[in-house]
């Protein structure tokens, strides 16, 4: 009550679920009661979905939530919007909440898009007159003008999500909660949604945004919170927490590296010219030592990424594999990377089909040198490539 509109306060939030789900039948309850009566204590299987979560958000702030599947992101969002109740702790969200927990949440397939818009509006606690005032805007944003009087079951999932998002975003919520739903939209609509979220933020709405699309989080949120197994790992400015998250993905990928196989990587070296560390726009030297039991032609491909499996650039080279050790060297004259931490991935393809060495991260390295110019946040995510450029401005 004392909190200003649009703020979120979560203190020591705990939430648990029954470990054996989906057994809401009388005979299961009877069986459970009987085993408890028989002195069986092991029956109380609970799984912690959230433990001791702390989250304080000021009005108008934006928080991105990320983490692996099952880490409690959606549960936290559900507790925030009041759908679920905490097991322990204190949760307070002040102001009207616009929540989009799932595609077509709060929508009924038998009703038309128009009827659903009003239904969703009343679920957000808005009178019909308010919905009617924004109706055209909502429909135009969702790009469903032609389908608005069609039953929702004949909508594509992208259309449903677009309508749901527009209703949630246009009905002037004070707190907006968006779960991983944008993934359903096509690329241009995703961009539109991100723009809209930023516009809503500018109007002073508080945003909590759950996504696996780290770039989208980086583009919209100032703060990032990483949940892992229901525990808050990091709650920090978005670049810091995303960086930590990316590194951890990387480390787990590295530890999952397969040993064995007919082709082994013995050694990887990454360095600048001489004994220098790698620097932007200066030479980068790569050295791989492989041990092969094979005798055939292969295609070596290696690339640099920010952590994920998709590389920023890729270089390839045909190599002839012979039993014994093979050394492969590569030099990149002008390293097109800005300052930061990068990961080297390597794979060796078989001539024809398949891979002798699966695409995997092999090492990480830090680049020193040029920092990218910071563009307006979110228009471009932090670009991973550094380009040497000469600018000239003149009056013709």
């Amino acid at each position: 009550m004392s909190l200003p509109k649009g703020s979120i306060e979560v203190d020591h939030l705990w939430k648990r679920f029954k470990a054996d789900r989906g057994k809401a039948q009388i005979r299961d309850k009877v069986a459970r009661a009987r085993s408890r009566a028989a002195g069986n204590k092991a029956d109380r299987g609970w799984r912690w979905a959230l433990s001791d979560v702390e989250l304080k958000v000021e009005p108008g702030a934006s928080v991105g939530l990320f983490g692996a599947n099952g880490s409690g992101k959606s549960t936290l969002l559900k507790v925030l919007c009041g759908v679920m109740y905490p097991y322990a702790g204190h949760v307070e969200v002040s102001g009207r909440i616009g929540a989009l927990i799932e595609v077509s949440s709060g929508m009924h397939p038998e009703l038309t898009g128009r009827e659903n818009t009003y239904l969703f509006g009343s679920l957000l606690g808005l009178p019909r007159s308010v919905v009617a005032r924004r109706f055209d805007e909502i429909v135009a944003f969702a790009e469903v003008e032609n389908a608005i009087d069609r039953q929702l079951k004949f909508y594509s999932s992208g259309m449903k999500m677009r309508l749901g998002f527009s209703v949630a975003a246009f009905l002037e919520p004070q707190v907006m909660l968006v779960d991983e739903v944008l993934a359903v939209g096509d690329a241009s609509f995703q961009q539109k949604c991100i723009d809209r979220m930023r516009a809503v933020l500018n109007e002073g709405t508080t945003l909590v945004f759950v996504s696996h699309d780290l770039a989208a989080i980086e583009a919209t949120c100032a703060r990032g919170m990483w949940l892992h197994n229901g525990l808050v790992q990091i709650d920090a400015p978005v670049s810091d927490s995303l960086g930590a998250y990316r590194r951890s993905i990387e480390e787990s990928a590295e530890s999952a590296q397969a040993a064995g196989g007919p082709l082994k990587l013995l050694k990887v070296e990454v360095g600048g010219s001489g004994d220098e560390p790698p620097r932007t726009q200066e030479p980068l030297e790569l050295r791989f030592v492989l041990e092969s039991e094979l005798d055939e032609q292969g295609l070596l491909f290696t690339g640099v990424s920010e952590g994920t499996a998709s590389p920023i650039f890729l270089i390839t080279r045909a190599v002839s594999l012979t039993p014994g050790q093979i050394e492969v060297r590569a030099t990149i004259d002008h390293l097109p990377l800005p300052r930061g931490r990068f990961y080297l991935w390597l794979g060796i393809a078989r001539k024809g089909r398949g891979q002798n060495l699966p695409w995997q991260p092999v090492t990480r390295f830090d680049v020193e040198g040029g920092l990218l110019d910071q563009g307006p946040q979110g228009i471009v995510r932090l670009a991973p490539v550094h380009v040497a450029v000469e600018w000239e401005t003149a009056r013709p």
């Binding site: 433990s51 109740y85 097991y87 702790g89 949440s105 009924h108 009827e115 009343s122 920090a236």
Partner: protein, 291 residues
């Protein structure tokens, strides 16, 4: 940013929250009832949605609402009346049974659809916040919509049998409040429990079938409980009996309700309403976890 902030917290998961932090739900009627009132537009939308979705696809449309009571009335008239001697007090039997069927159908439809309303709306329950009682309450409204249509048929029956409702019909609103209160109470109670005991849904329709015969729908209350001494107790156990008996007296016979039956029914209704709402609110905290 200092490095310390950006490095993941490696702390082990604490085993459980300290007991003083446990979340306790306080049930305050003074806060939850106004909230329900603020959600009236939502209830209307939900009820409208239900009605539309139900009749949009059904071939016979709104006439389904009337078919159930009419078919039962015909069945009672053709079969039951032959087997048993039913005292209707000079009222045509179809009218007599139809007046009983109206509140019964309203009750059984409400309980049946309202009881399942939380489960069938689990897609909403799980994703959108609203006071949960809107779902069963909306079901009661839908049943009320059906009841209005079937009351129209009652008017038709009056014309067919050239039988005019008596002036004492002015008592109807009082009885209706009782009927509504009891229906809402039972619906709330059952809808909350069904979420946790899903197979109660199947049991529900059987129980309602039995209830039809435990209630003076096809016959008068005097046929079920001949001894006047037990009638108030019977009505305390089954308030609908007092309501139906009251409707017949005020609409068809021109007599005032039997207050010695209405009073115990009213007491039960208030208790059921209170119990139903409290149980519902108690169970509410876990709905989204299991739905």
């Amino acid at each position: 940013m200092p490095e310390a902030v950006a490095s993941p917290r490696t702390a082990e998961r604490p085993p459980a929250p300290p007991p003083e932090l446990l979340f306790r739900r306080r049930i305050r009627l003074r806060r939850s009832l106004p909230e329900l009132w603020r959600s009236r537009e939502l209830i209307r939308t939900l009820a409208e949605r239900e009605v539309r979705a139900r009749y949009k696809q059904a071939f016979l449309g709104a006439s389904w609402a009337v078919i159930t009571p009419i078919v039962l009335m015909v069945v009672f008239t053709v079969f039951l009346k032959r087997v048993a001697k039913i005292d209707t007090g000079n009222v045509p039997y179809p009218l007599f049974s139809y007046v009983g069927l109206l509140p019964w159908t309203f009750f059984s439809t409400s309980v049946n659809t309202g009881g399942q309303s939380l489960v069938s709306n689990s897609s909403l329950l799980n994703k959108v916040y609203c006071p949960r009682e809107v779902f069963p309450v909306a079901s009661v409204f839908v049943a009320g919509f059906d009841a209005i249509i079937s009351t129209g048929v009652l008017g038709l029956l009056f014309v067919i049998y050239t039988f005019a409702p008596k002036v004492t019909s002015l008592w109807v609103p009082v009885l209706f409040v009782l009927q509504l209160g009891f229906t809402v109470g039972v619906t709330l109670f059952l809808s909350g429990i069904v979420v946790y005991l899903r197979d109660l849904r199947q049991a529900l329709s059987i129980l309602l079938q039995l209830g039809l015969f435990a209630t003076p729908v096809a016959y008068g209350i005097d046929g079920i409980v001949p001894n006047p001494f037990w009638r108030p107790i019977y009505c305390a156990l089954n308030p609908l009996a007092a309501v139906i008996d009251g409707y017949r007296r005020v609409v068809l016979l021109g007599l005032p309700p039997r207050w010695e039956l209405v009073a115990p029914a009213a007491v039960t209704t208030v208790l059921i309403l209170f119990l139903g709402y409290t149980v519902f609110k108690r169970l509410e905290t876990g709905f989204a976890d299991v739905a």
